[in-house]
């Protein structure tokens, strides 16, 4: 029977129209690389709910905060107002895009690509795609680039994410294949998390880690991270290293392991090569020196080495902290060296396990949709690999580029130089996510032709597009994805695409056909279904390390998700025989000297800036940013700094600061964060100009310098200066509107952001049918009348019932509109306040809380806050049930017993952390810091 159709009862939580028949469709979550299975609840036209797939081996029914609210990214309002629904074309850059038919769009795009190809050659065309595409889309793009257009320049945003891990695996183990399975998390005795914060970025794996620790008393958790993250809080040992010193630490650890004789000589002898060279290299890296370089206690290095080496099974989990670095590959191989030296690989619970950031980064690697890869883990540097591909694709080898192309950063540099004339961007948002935005935007500006294939209409990149092609997305697409543990899952369509949107592979196929026709040849991308594309891809794996020739969609439908290689059956774990994917079967120790980050902190730029993730947001927020509820947990743009540094700079929490690097600058509110090390700063990676004004987002600051092997840019390290931003004027404009008016309102507010030195525009979750938008800005001088009047109109504050205080000369203005209904209990519906500093800031909380506003009486217009100011809205901890810190502390004050008991009582009373569990680390911290109040 077809396993993906369920007849389970409709989920009570879903808000579907009761008259329509319910059905459910199994698919996967489109966020991180854990690749959780989801059950999409829908009526065939509209997605109404989502829940975890109890049968999916990645999550067994659990979902994180983002996953549990996936259906809210497919509401009628989002589909209507935030999705790209029809092909659009700009007559000129900066002009408003105009609708055109698919046929016209395809024809015009094909013609323009052919013209550029004819004038400048195929290599003048670049394709920049995404780890969120399905494997079938990847395969289609790959053929489009290399076989149809014949350009070598196709790369993916996985370059910013996984390429160091790819090259690290290939160098050390011979193939780009994570050897582990998620079940190793349960089976490991020691888990080493390095440069990853799964508590926030891979929450479901972290739930499994928490559960495993609860089961195993002797379990050891070591976390290596410059920040004391919620992952680090769970650790038995946190090595808070200086940013970028991972290689030094690994060398120190290996030194300790060798010195104490904790190595596995038999394994080294039997299954590896190059140990001597590494031994020589780390000889100088005695833990004392490593401790000095990394800024951690020497004793901790010895302890970590002992735990890792002597545990029966040691697993390492790592992610961007290692990958996004100018020595990303070296960081990966240095960590893998530890596994090889101690034989912690090829066994249950042991191995170097790279966590992927995107849902199908793995699929992209398998299908070779990157400048440095060919299908089936082949290498574009090898002529024979090209020959095989030519044969597989049924084209003449000379019809293929036959060489590596530009990787992401190289591609945009080439475009900025004018070498690349056309960029076709799909399912990614380089104007937000690429480093060194000044360069990226110069490149986009210079391109003759920018094609953006997107599901969401309002990304930062959309502004630069000449053609906008509406793509189908989650819940609308058929295909496959591969998660971090090499597990291939079917992605299934529950509903038709929004508007005129089409599957990515189909958009590619149609334009490819026109190009082939223009070149007077038969279609080279002829597949008529995504399954047909998958079968082509499968064929490319035959005889390779990732061979899936034994697998079919029928198998996936029947038996569920499967791990590659799959010939006779699935392969949960690699290298169990001790034979590796290298030519001689031996794993290689890689001896790479420690290199400090590409740019060092100086007197001019004394802080090392790292980029991080928020618990409830993902990437550039194109999708997660469409759910107001996901802004409730730390949902405001901020730069984090250690309180001591802030004190030295005489900066208060919440003050506006200017963060400046050699490449650009960014104004943000300051958040004091004791979990950072001194001289470190942190900005979440998500904030682009979609939400924080005309600035170029966090990546205005970051650098394009990349790892020489993996070409992955150093997004995790930038030297920056932090100074107070002298912007005395504050403007706050908030309004609650009907949900379906939110998008147009946001559009009007966003248009105003460029006029302010700092501005953000954020949604606020409201009661049913309402959405709040909050526009806050700061400027050196009082805001100009045009902008003020634009805001007044946008917020409906030009009506007679508005409360107002105006002093034109002083530039002070306050306009308030109470909700029409509710009388004395009416909440604040709209608010505009302009004045010096944070005067009247309390009104924002009043607006947000929707408390009766009339109660505040004359204070509503007064410069000072009411003497009995209601408490600020307490920070949200549990997003699923919107439980806030004050309630939790109050409850805990009467919970008694062990921390575990008190947590249980808390969860019984408030339900916090009982659904997705993403807030459990925070709850544990609150349990630890909130004593029971024993009545006297």
């Amino acid at each position: 029977m077809d396993r993906h159709r369920l007849d389970a009862p409709p989920c009570a939580s879903s808000d579907r129209a009761p008259d329509k028949p319910m059905s459910e469709t199994r698919s996967t979550c489109p966020y991180c690389g854990v690749g959780c299975g989801v059950v999409i609840e829908h009526d065939g036209q509209q997605i109404t709910g989502v829940r975890g797939d109890p049968d999916h081996p990645a999550n067994f029914g659990r979902l994180c905060t983002k996953g549990t609210q996936l259906h809210l990214t497919a509401t009628p309002v989002v589909l209507q107002h935030q999705r790209l629904r029809q092909p659009l074309k700009r007559a000129s850059r900066g002009a408003a895009p105009q609708a055109l038919t698919w046929d016209d769009a395809n024809r015009e795009i094909a013609e323009r690509l052919l013209a550029i190809r004819a004038t400048h050659g195929p290599q003048a065309i670049g394709l920049y795609i995404s780890g969120q595409l399905l494997t079938e889309d990847y395969h289609a793009f790959n053929k489009l680039a290399r076989a149809v257009i014949n350009t070598p320049h196709i790369d993916s945003n996985s370059r910013l994410c996984m390429s160091s891990a790819v090259v690290g695996y290939k160098q050390s183990l011979g193939a780009d294949a994570p050897p582990c399975s998620y079940e190793d998390i349960e089976q490991a005795d020691c888990v080493l998390v390095s440069g990853a914060n799964p508590a926030w970025a891979h929450p479901i794996l972290f739930r499994r880690l928490e559960a495993a620790r609860a089961q195993r008393p002797g379990h050891r958790l070591i976390v290596i991270d410059p920040r004391r993250t919620e992952t680090a809080e769970l650790a038995d040992l946190h090595l808070q290293i200086r940013p970028g010193t991972d290689v030094a630490l690994c060398h120190g650890l290996l030194h300790a392991i060798i010195r104490r004789g904790w190595t596995a000589p038999g394994f080294i002898e039997g299954h590896t090569e190059g140990f001597e060279a590494v031994k020589t290299l780390v000889h100088d890296w005695m833990p004392a020196r490593a401790a000095q370089v990394c800024g951690v206690p020497e004793a901790d290095i010895w302890r970590a080495a002992e735990w890792f080496a002597t545990a029966p099974a040691s697993l390492s989990l790592y992610c961007q902290g290692l990958n996004q670095s100018s020595s990303g590959t070296a960081k990966n191989t240095a960590l893998i060296n530890l596994h090889l030296a101690t034989g912690q690989i090829g066994r249950a619970g042991a191995g170097p396990f790279s966590l992927t950031g995107q849902p199908n980064a793995m699929g992209g690697r398998e299908s070779g949709g990157m400048a440095t890869l060919l299908p089936g883990h082949r290498d574009p540097a090898r002529a024979d690999d090209w020959a095989e591909i030519a044969q597989l694709w049924g084209v003449d080898a000379t019809d293929l580029p036959g060489r590596r192309g530009h990787t992401a950063v190289e591609m945009f540099k080439a475009a900025a130089r004018g070498e690349i004339k056309a960029l076709w961007i799909a399912c990614t948002n380089p104007a937000q996510s690429m480093p060194d935005q000044a360069l990226v935007r110069a490149a986009l500006d210079r391109c003759e032709l920018v094609i953006l294939q997107e599901a969401f209409a309002h990304t930062a990149t959309a502004r630069y597009a000449d053609y906008l092609l509406p793509a189908a997305t989650w819940g609308e697409k058929e295909g496959t994805v591969t998660n971090s543990e090499r597990r291939i899952s079917r992605v299934r369509a529950a509903v038709p695409p929004a508007g005129l949107a089409r599957a990515d592979w189909r958009i590619v196929r149609d334009i490819a056909a026109l190009i082939d026709a223009g070149l007077g040849r038969a279609p080279r991308l002829a597949a008529q279904t995504s399954e047909a594309l998958w079968l082509e891809h499968r064929e490319a794996t035959r005889g390779r390390d990732l061979d899936i020739t034994g697998l079919s969609w029928a198998t996936l439908d029947r038996d569920g998700p499967q791990q590659w290689p799959y010939v006779g059956g699935a392969t949960p774990r690699l290298y169990t025989s001790g034979r590796f994917a290298t030519d001689n079967g031996r794993a290689r120790f890689i001896a790479r000297a420690y290199q400090p980050p590409a740019e060092d902190t100086t007197a001019q730029h004394p802080f090392s800036l790292t980029t991080s993730r928020l618990r409830d947001q993902w990437h550039g927020m194109s999708r997660s940013g469409s759910v107001p509820r996901l802004f409730a947990h730390q949902g405001r743009p901020q730069v984090r700094l250690h309180p001591d540094d802030a004190a030295r700079l005489q900066l208060a929490d919440g003050a506006l600061v200017q963060v400046r690097s050699a490449r650009g600058e960014l104004v943000l509110p300051l958040q004091l964060d004791g979990n950072l090390a001194a001289a470190c700063a942190d900005i979440p990676m998500h904030w682009g100009d979609e939400f924080i004004g005309a600035q170029h987002g966090v990546n205005a600051l970051t650098q394009g310098t990349f790892c020489p092997d993996a070409k992955q840019p150093e997004l995790k390290f930038s030297a920056v200066a932090i100074e107070p931003a002298d912007l005395p004027w504050r403007l706050t404009a908030c309004v609650w509107v009907a949900a379906d008016q939110g998008a147009s309102l946001r559009g009007r507010l966003r248009a105003l952001m460029p006029h302010f030195a700092y501005a953000h525009c954020l949604p606020e979750p409201g009661p049913d049918g309402l959405v709040g938008w909050c526009f806050e800005a700061a400027s050196a001088l009082a805001p100009a009348p045009e902008q003020v009047s634009a805001l007044v109109t946008a917020l409906g504050l030009d009506r007679p019932e508005v409360l107002r205080y105006t002093d034109a000369r002083r530039g002070r203005l306050r306009l308030l509109r109470l909700a029409p209904e509710g009388g004395q209990a009416a909440p604040l519906q709209a608010l505009l306040r302009i004045g010096p500093h944070d005067e009247g800031a309390w009104l924002l909380d009043l607006w947000r809380s929707r408390r009766p506003a009339a109660a505040a009486g004359r204070w509503l217009l007064s410069p000072s806050a009411p003497p009995t100011d209601a408490p600020k809205v307490s920070p949200q901890v549990c997003n699923c049930f919107d439980v806030r810190e004050d309630v939790i502390r109050l409850t805990l004050s009467h919970c008694s017993g062990s921390p575990r008991d008190r947590l249980a009582q808390l969860q019984a009373e408030q339900r916090c952390g009982t659904q997705c569990g993403s807030c459990l680390p925070a709850l544990r911290r609150l349990v630890a810091t909130t004593p029971e109040e024993v009545p006297a």
Partner: protein, 417 residues
Amino acid sequence: MKKLKLVMVGNGMAGVRTLEEMLKLAPELYDVTVFGAEPHPNYNRILLSPVLAGEQTMDEIILNPLSWYDAHGITLHLGRPVTRIDRVRRQVVAADGTTAPYDRLLIATGSMPFVPPVPGKDLAGVLAYRDIADTQAMIDAAARYRHAVVIGGGLLGLEAANGLMQRGMQVTVVHLSDTLLERQLDRSASALLRQSLAERGLQFVLGARTQALLGHEDGPSAGRVRAVQLSDSAGRPVELPADLVVVAAGVRPNTALAEAAGLLCNRGIVVTDTLQSVTDPRIYAVGECAAHRGIAYGLVAPLFEQGKVCATHLAQMGIGRYLGSSVSTKLKVTGIDLFSAGNFSGGPGTEEITLSDPHTGVYKKLVIQGDRLVGACLYGDTVDGSWYFQLLREGRTIADIRDQLMFGEAAAGLAQP
């Protein structure tokens, strides 16, 4: 020794206050004679509105009972309007022939209602609103008739209209301008006022010009007004039923007597800073009939200030100088708080701070020039009016309390270092 003779023509608030001030300074200096056209001793004209509205009685508004005149040996001639001043013989002559010689003469004849020259203005049931007689007539009419029209949406007209409404009449206010109290309020406050008076039941026809008053041709009420004919703001003819018409279209200084005596008059008897007429230094004038520096004041506060100064000179202590008054307005309609002072309408070179809270019906405008408060217009909440009026007269800089100014003396106090 023989006392000097002081004669006062007019028995109203300004004049009697002047006498009181003078008697304090020089109780024995004069033999005082007072002529009053009304049959009543001095009463508080301002409180006629509460009387009309039934909130006070006639007796309660008497300021100086007859006993007061006796106690000060004042010769009082009530109900005897003076018809002539003989400046050669230095005596005044009343309608009944009574004469009184003077060494000093104080003219305090006040003002007369202005009744526009429209057909039918002399019909029965058409009244001005000036004195106790008018007030009584209105009270009587209210007891018998239903429809009243008040011509004039100024302070007096609105108070009359409110009073008549209180007494159960259906009242329509006809006003030439399109905003009420345009001389006391800006448009915003005026709109609020109109709204709350309308909520109380008053009807308004603004921007309307009265064309004629129509009377009953025959029948029992022949010769009595029955309707007001006017053209509305669009120029369309409108006819309003009216059993009573109160004309409150402004007042004119009552200067006929003085002009006949050859005193220089120009929108009032022209007086100096010592309140002496410029024509004859023996003759003084105070109150609504006097024009000081071109202004004839119609409000009580300045009149009292004039009286104080005038008294010092009558008492031969020639020290005081009257330099004019800045005026503030309050409307005496119970339940409506309204205050305006100085240049509340702003204009070139001025800055405005405004506050408006439609939910509590509060509107405030402060006009500032060169860091000084020069005007204020308050509606709905006038508690700070006197404070603003004080700041306005003191001309003190408000730069240091500007941001708190709108929120009253207390808030400003908070702001002081």
